[in-house]
Symmetry: C2
Subunit: 202 residues, 2 copies
Amino acid sequence: MKRPGRGEQAVRNNEAILTAAREIFLADPRAPVAAVAERAKVGIGALYRRYPSKEELLRTICHDGLRTFIAEAERAGPEPDDWVAFATFLRGVVRADVHSLTVHLAGTFTPTEQMHADAVLASELAGRLVERGRPHLRAEIGPADVTLLLEMCAAVRVPDAARTAELRERCLTILLDGLRADGPLPGPPPTAAELNWRWPKA
Amino acid sequence: MKRPGRGEQAVRNNEAILTAAREIFLADPRAPVAAVAERAKVGIGALYRRYPSKEELLRTICHDGLRTFIAEAERAGPEPDDWVAFATFLRGVVRADVHSLTVHLAGTFTPTEQMHADAVLASELAGRLVERGRPHLRAEIGPADVTLLLEMCAAVRVPDAARTAELRERCLTILLDGLRADGPLPGPPPTAAELNWRWPKA
DNA sequence: GTGGAACGGAATGCTTCGTTCCGTTCCAAT
DNA sequence: ATTGGAACGGAACGAAGCATTCCGTTCCAC
């Protein structure tokens, strides 16, 4: 479905802007909008034509990430082996860099109702996966622990994106093995509330 | 050695400013200087009397952290059991929140020569501890892997400082167990160069 | 040839700091 | 008491940085 000329450019720009926004804002959530336009090789005007404000752009990026998270959970669901389902879900989430979206972008915009609903769904799906993995995990591991692990992986970052992904997978492997080890853990697991402090208070 | 009046206040301010600066800048490296003054309950003037610029303040905070890192390494050195030495070193570093200093503050100032020298020393001491722990670790774990683990722990953060420390210890425990597990890891370990990208290019 | 959709990017106006400046407070020595 | 200066607090200044707007230009479709 090729469109020529301006129409073609417009389609390309749609994606270029979103891709650029993801890259720029994940590297620095406070980056100026102009940086996104530059990375996308688009004029600022073209960007503002699509997103009436920076906040709207941020919201879009984050909501897309949330949907990806859900997609990863649904992709891992059918896997019959509980542990494999759990592990591939986490690997998928880490690979998609979805966690960064949540961690870094939270608080830079006010969420929509739809986002809230999707977040609830995401939480349920993830919780179900964690539940399936629990028999293989050390005692006292809760869903929020898993969220924390994802945040930790998101902290791994080097300039090269591909290498970053590789290093994150390395770290995730170590973490997964640590999750299956024995022995007590200090303190109670984190609560959901403790992890949501970045979001605007209702 | 009590000093009365203004002198007493001056001594208190010295510490109050550094403490406040650590808290503020660790929470947000780009926080305004005024925020530090406010947290320290000090006028901006009092702060600028001691540190001629924001950069100088940042440098001081970071250098202090580096020295703490070295102190932790030296504290763990005498421990006879290799694994215990390795583990208590990491626990000490995480507890002191030294990693955050490196991760978050890097690039916000140009390091001094003395800092560079201390960094080399710190690296040597840490490398020695890792070497001692290596027999207990899974294959292919390098010193840079350990640095990465510290960065991951630094990513754990909730509003309450004490709870943050507790959660970090929890995560570190999982990581340490993961480090002792068996099995191959994807990709090569990070190199020192890969981890230093935040610092100003020589 | 022409109207309008889409572009690029300069210009605008505002906010956010780092830093300076100065009037005030407090102590110690006279 | 008086006073010189050390230390304060915080208002004010000026430089950036940025989100957003505006407008002249380009490119198709008709």
